[in-house]
Subunit: 158 residues, 2 copies
Amino acid sequence: MITEQQKKLMREAIALSSRNIDNGGGPFGAVIVKDGKILARGANRVTADNDPTAHAEVNAIREAARILGTFDLSGCEIYTSCEPCPMCLSAIYWARIDHIYYANTQYDAKAIDFDDSFIYEELSLPKQQRSIPAERMLGEEAIEAFDKWRNKEDKVEY
Amino acid sequence: MITEQQKKLMREAIALSSRNIDNGGGPFGAVIVKDGKILARGANRVTADNDPTAHAEVNAIREAARILGTFDLSGCEIYTSCEPCPMCLSAIYWARIDHIYYANTQYDAKAIDFDDSFIYEELSLPKQQRSIPAERMLGEEAIEAFDKWRNKEDKVEY
């Protein structure tokens, strides 16, 4: 059951997606909501900022975390004008956001040549079948930093 | 066939992962390489910077894109001290990086309580079965921004 208040929040994300087109960005907007109020906004600035990670959701998450002074956005919800791509969905998991509301789908995005669904398919393949090759090397040297981490007493875990 | 030069590049990523622990960050480092030379470096600054997206690979990608002045890192390779999590792997796809080299695995990361593998599992589930609920709403309003994008003539596509 979607409330009028939730519609208002999504309409803000949609308005951001539309305004961002006029502003040299891609057609994506997102807001992070806490206690029913908008805490942070984001829009897709990949081409405008030359940052391949500057999707609407990532930008909104970074802003919300900056405002709250924590990397843990438990208790927050995200309203995004389009279903999150795998990068943004993973960022939502890392940020521990409680709930996702989205409007356009990954298939709508594909229809305007933003191919999130390609990356979803790639991630579901075994590593050896993905289009970007990934090779393992020097595991026996890298593990030392993990041992060092394990033995550190005053670390900040997350 | 891994060359001595490639080992040097990975050892730089590993050194970053270890130094970052002393520097208040997590045990992860990455370098972006172009034409055999290190272009950008990144380390995990999630807790240090209160940014849930500040993984080593994301930070290195953002820095490389800033330096090159483009969102397209075709022709670049990434050497990362640990297998990329789904957020970072997706960022690598969006950035069009050619090749991934990694040292520790997602299972090594899980063993020190960085549970990338949980997010990999979540992404492979149908949306309705994932632990963070996702609900669609107002698709009929959001699609207007996509139509506006489709009809824009001077857009920068990627």
